[in-house]
Symmetry: D2
Subunit: 160 residues, 4 copies
């Protein structure tokens, strides 16, 4: 059903990129988004929202985004849950980015603000390595991001 989020904030740290066993890139970062508006009195409040990016877009984010920079993120809200070491079920809410807009505004790395759209290339350069069975990368068969399946990734695979 309909599940859409659009965010604009600053990275609290450099992004972290990892690869799933099958070779898909996954990048995560946190966006700090001020709740208060300009010229408003009162203590500033901030929401810190975790962002997850997959595939080619993950590599672009890892390459171009830096701590302190502004970015606009478009995606869907996802609730993952897993069992932690103490056997408790933990729920994690994060935004799965389908598009990311790089806005400079960091500490001088300057450059052109630019856009990294979702899945603009077949993304077939990823994975590889082979391995039998239905590869986890098979979600690339359907490049529409809503169809990504980080779901059946075992706990060890999780890069965050």
């Amino acid at each position: 059903m309909l599940n859409r989020a659009v965010l604009l904030g600053r990275l609290t740290k450099d992004p972290e990129m990892r690869y799933t066993p099958s070779g898909t890139a996954v990048t995560t970062f946190t966006l700090a988004i001020d709740r208060r508006m300009t010229n408003q009195q009162g203590e500033r409040e901030t929401d810190f929202l975790p962002i997850v990016v997959w595939s080619k877009l993950a590599e672009l984010c890892a390459q171009y985004l830096k701590k302190g920079q502004q970015a606009a993120v478009e995606g869907r809200i996802q609730v993952r849950n897993y069992e932690n070491k103490e056997g408790r079920r933990v729920y994690v809410t994060e935004i799965v980015a389908e598009n990311v807009q790089f806005l400079s505004g960091g500490q001088g790395q300057g450059g052109e603000p630019s856009y990294a759209g979702g899945f603009d290339k077949p993304a077939s350069s990823f994975g590889g390595s082979g391995g039998g069975g239905r590869s986890r990368d098979s979600f690339n068969d359907n490049p529409f991001a809503d169809d990504q399946k980080p779901i059946d990734i075992s706990d060890d695979d999780l890069p965050f």
Copy 2:
């Protein structure tokens, strides 16, 4: 900064409405949002997203929404954190609804699909009780929802 979410799903239960000590209505419910699309094979996956609604809109939601019904919600993503009984800091992500669209589709309570916009009346019917100091309800002075401040509500006040 920019923080916007638009969701469409079904209520997993009837909404729950409570009042803060100062008399502001707060309604909460969970929206079940299927990730999979129509005619797509494979097991269905669902995100369960907690929704919070304040003030007059809270009362309308409590009155008209029922378990199983469809609703469209527009708002912002918020991360609350509090210390639980074990002294651990717990983070809760929820969507603070500014607009809610009632879509029937439940088990026959029928009626007209209708809309409950944000703060369409001065909402002055709330609170009251008076008392000195800056009332927690003072956020009603600025009816623009981004300005709501559930933030400084003490733990005991929290209705969920």
Copy 3:
């Protein structure tokens, strides 16, 4: 860059589906969206927004949507311009839908509210006819909807 619209309204008529010469389905309809909110006095005001849908999603919309039904549309705002018969340049603003949610609520055609996501199948069933040159359908090579190119469709091709 970022260009996102989310709409929820009712179809003013049954959708119209046509095919481009190369065989891509294009469906158009208008969504009536009330500006006023429930329980608000005053004359109701309505925006009528033209929606365009391509490819497999176009076929699903043509098949399942009917006049009077509610639908949620997610897409981007596009401004097309063309020269009309009098030699005047005309600008048309429309929403290119990437996802459509079917919500019943029409005059009893009932059925399951369902979702038609963007590009969930390779959509390779379209087009055909072959022919040389760069087929207009080649946008299907990149299934991400932002990449669709209705732009270079000649005036005669336009199905609306």
Copy 4:
């Protein structure tokens, strides 16, 4: 009903601010939004979307936004129609901004990227002048932007 747009682009010119007879500020500008994404071949395509801003937010936009700067706009899509000099009914689609995020990135006016939220002050500083009857400014009674009524503004009032 639900009608939400989120845009990120660059101003094609400096904004233009005018006042309605009753003293409400109205600012208009056009946002150029590239359709193509970074690193994609092919001619760049751009949508030019007209933005309308009212009240205090209009003044902030006129003051801080300049040609070439980036801005994020959140609002609703509106279709106005009026009769032109030749007696033809003309339809104008524009985005009524409820929030605007100023992102630098122009030609060096630098400064802090900042946010101008909707209606954060009662905006009562506008209008004035008095005059009998229901002032056009009365929409300020309900500061929620969905409630703005540019609709009954006569043609002469239109600042664009």
